[in-house]
């Protein structure tokens, strides 16, 4: 069930290069499932005009948390919200999935957010996790505590997460794989993984207007024409998406 509400921020703290923003809400834990996302906006603002889509990082009984990286006009403002400030929240949106009990997660940078959320339903698995530098490898210890084997790599020293996956291809055999990261990473993984994945899925990101299938902005090219991240996504099968 979609809903639109005005909700207060109860925490904004820095986590590596990101901001972790917790929003008070007693309903979300009953509404949201794995794969869902929300659209978020500053309450009184018509500039930035659009709400921004974010995956859940976590959902508690009294709140939910988003991981935000200030990289544009919208995220700059959102990353500076103060405790008590109210936000426009639309959601949960998208098509949820039933996460498997075990599998392989591949995260690039802030792509860790939805995979961290997903990992809470999984009993065991492997995480391949790459970021620009060590301080950006947030939440890796927490995922380890959830029973995951965690392999990390940083670009400033060793290389990219795609290198890490290439070196460990045998670990992917027969596993369900979930990917979230920049489009260039998705494109490379499509080539690297090939037939190794029984089933590989990818969290896609797009500029979004409405989040409700109205504006047809968030198109992803697939084998069967354009699909929309807000309605048919954000999770797609890796084999169906076409990335440039």
């Amino acid at each position: 069930m979609n809903s639109f509400r005005i909700l207060p921020v109860i925490e904004n703290r820095v986590l590596g290069p990101y901001n972790l923003i917790r929003i008070e809400d007693e309903d979300m834990h009953q509404q949201a499932k794995c794969g869902h996302f929300v659209m978020v906006g500053i309450t009184t603002s018509i500039d930035p005009f659009l709400l921004r889509p974010f995956s859940f990082l976590s959902i508690e009984e009294d709140s939910f948390t988003l991981l935000i990286k200030a990289r544009g006009r919208g995220t700059e403002k959102l990353s500076k919200v103060k405790e008590g400030e109210k936000l426009k929240i639309l959601g949960p949106l998208g098509e949820p999935i039933k996460p498997p009990e075990r599998g392989v997660l591949i995260a690039g940078g802030i792509g860790i957010a939805p995979l961290y959320y997903q990992s809470q339903w999984m009993n065991q698995g492997i995480l391949f996790y790459g970021a620009k530098k060590e301080s950006a490898l947030v939440l890796k210890e927490e995922i380890k505590e959830r029973g995951f084997i965690v392999n990390t790599i940083t670009e400033d020293r060793e290389g990219k997460v795609t290198d890490l996956v290439s070196e460990n291809l045998d670990l992917l055999k027969g596993e369900k794989i979930f990917i979230c990261g920049p489009e260039s990473m998705i494109k490379e993984l499509k080539d690297i993984i090939g037939d190794y994945a029984k089933e590989a899925f990818v969290y896609m990101e797009r500029r979004m207007g409405c989040g409700l299938g109205g504006c047809k902005s968030c198109a992803v090219k697939t084998d069967s024409g354009y699909k929309y991240v807000c309605q048919e996504g954000p999770i797609f099968s890796l084999s169906e998406v076409k990335v440039d």
Binding site: I46, F49, G74, L90, G209, G214, A219
Partner: protein
Amino acid sequence: MIDLSVSFNGIELKNPVILASGVWDLPYTEIIDFNELGGVVYKSVSLRPREGNPPPRLTETPCGVINSIGLANKGVDSFNKEILPRLKKFDTAIFVNIFGETIEEFSRISQMIVDVSGIEVNISCPNVRKGGVSFGREPETAFQVTKAVCENSDLPVIVKLTPAASNIVEVAEACLKAGASAVTAVNTFQGLAIDIESGEPLFKNVVGGVSGPAIKPQALYNVYQISRNLEVPIIGSGGITNFKDVLEYFIAGATAIQLGSAIFNNPLAPIEIIDNIIKYMKDNGYRNLKELRKYIDE
């Protein structure tokens, strides 16, 4: 009791707030109570399904949005079978925006649209190679398209005008002569977004359509020009986000208004605007829109 109803040339609305074409689809019915709305215009349908433009299709500009969607839709058959029956459940006037690449296509679609409150003719989309804005720039082509639709449909016909018209008053006049019941003024403004990283236009189609509060003064001026020069019902559209904007459009000469991009910023904007119009009229002792308009016209 406040009466918000408006009627003009065969179109009857219980209030003047219409949800514009291109910004909503059925999932919005879970957020907005469509029974509260004066009307809704379903996004452009074409004779055959259209894929739309390659992504990216949307970007933000200060106080607005630029889109290059390219009229992605599943075609008129899908509208009739899957969409219309579900919209008919709501107590609101249903309009459908139609798009054709040729005048012949407009004629054929017009025959296939029945059982709605009216047709809105799209001669103003900037994001397609054929049709769209190219029909809306000049009075002659606008006349031909409108005439084709009117000849092939018994429904009231509204023409959605482009601000890129050579002379919007002349184009509106041509539509009226061809049989239009009203005009929607205006569709998006043509604009450009540049990706400084690639050094190229952001959209593959180069041009995009600008909407949102960024275009309100320009759109409002178009409405004013038409209303001061022509006797035609105008549905004002462009950058409206609150009830004060609506009053400005009424003062500029609009009979009703459409809300588009506003729902991206605040999905409840249509309902809040209706509530605020009622409150404003109560506070000022107006019983209906005629009284409000009389005050405005004086």
